[in-house]
Symmetry: C2
Subunit: 199 residues, 2 copies
DNA sequence: AGGGCATGTCAACGATTGTTGGCAAACAGA
DNA sequence: TCTGTTTGCCAACAATCGTTGACATGCCCT
């Protein structure tokens, strides 16, 4: 069995390998290219050039381009726990602030959004993240379990819409909004989508 | 001067040409391909095959791929006039309903959103549309002219976010929402973004 | 010290892409 | 009817893509 065929990109999780530095450089370059260029225009050759290695190394370590994308875009939204009545009535503000922190410090989110729009596998990955990470949070806040998926979808539409206009399309007036303004405007929206009674 | 070098795709606007049928087939096929595949994966060869003509015809009539995209994606949101106090206090509902009609009957909008995310020219086109079509509507509804760009950006974030999750990413719970549900949830949001006093 | 495996480079492959120029046929105006 | 233009197809181009296999170098274990 060839130990090096594993695709785990990080040292510390599993047996450390001599090539971990190279693997790290590859996924780092891949993240950047996928974020700025999207899936199709982010070429393996350009990623390899950024990582200062040969393109064939990418193939050896990650199999193919899809494998590289899967390894480079591993997303954990680190959503805070929303149990407790005090947090529940502040859920809108907390979630909006958390999302802003995430998007401004994590280029992987931009990469996933860019790829998800033009790539089927990317779109499915986004669906997974919403189902496994966003939906549980909605479940903690929303009263009626049956309405949770719809409310989570509404929340996602507003939060992803903000990310789309501000970080991907880079629409000037959306970029001009201050953090405080965004929180002040969007927090009540999210709060209402999660907790308001059926309109 | 070669009359056929014009890129006007439709008969009726300008001198009719013998090749107008072909031109129409090309832009129709282009719209569909750009909508489903995005810019990079929509190949000129595939578009030409759909239109039952030779790829070189696309080049002759539209110069290059960018020219074809520009000719295929001409967007008029046909936003209703929002003057009048009665319409102004119903702006949220009217706009949400109008956007749903547009997105469900016009594949060009999906095409532009898909392309705008991965293509610089597409993103700039979206900015133009927002500035020239969405901003004036916000101006009719919003009291303070200085706040119009920010309010239009907020409205765009929610409306584009809905289109993103529902028509592009096709997230199941977002697709499961009925038209009535969407209007009921989003109309107050848009109304507030446009008319509420500074939060 | 030596055998085996991991790491890395190099060159090339087949496929596909946007794009171009030449040539045949159909049409339009005289 | 004749001439020039428009329409269309065909073949090919240069570039680039993801991907592969051969080969050299270095590290690790016994």
């Amino acid at each position: 069995m060839n130990r090096s065929e594993s695709t785990s990109p990080f040292p510390g999780s599993g047996t450390p390998r001599r090539s971990d530095a190279t693997r790290g450089a590859i996924v780092a370059a891949a993240r950047e290219r996928f974020a700025t260029d999207g899936y199709e225009r982010a070429t393996i050759r350009a990623i390899a050039r950024d990582a200062n290695i040969d393109p064939s190394m990418v193939m050896r370590y990650y199999g193919n381009k899809e494998g590289l994308f899967a390894a480079a875009v591993a997303i954990d939204l680190r959503l805070p726990d929303m149990s407790g009545a005090d947090r529940r009535q502040d859920a809108g503000r907390i979630l909006v602030e958390h999302f802003l922190d995430m998007w401004e410090n994590n280029e992987v989110l931009t990469a996933l959004l860019r790829v998800g729009v033009t790539n089927q596998a990317g779109a499915e990955r986004m669906q997974d993240i919403l189902r496994e990470q966003l939906l549980p949070v909605a479940q903690q806040v929303c009263p009626d379990p049956e309405q949770v998926p719809a409310r989570a979808a509404l929340m996602a539409s507003q939060l992803l819409g903000l990310a789309l206009t501000r970080y991907v399309l880079r629409i000037p007036p959306a970029m001009g909004l201050t953090r405080a303004q965004i929180v002040a405007w969007l927090a009540p929206t999210i709060q209402r989508y999660l907790t308001a009674s059926n309109p």
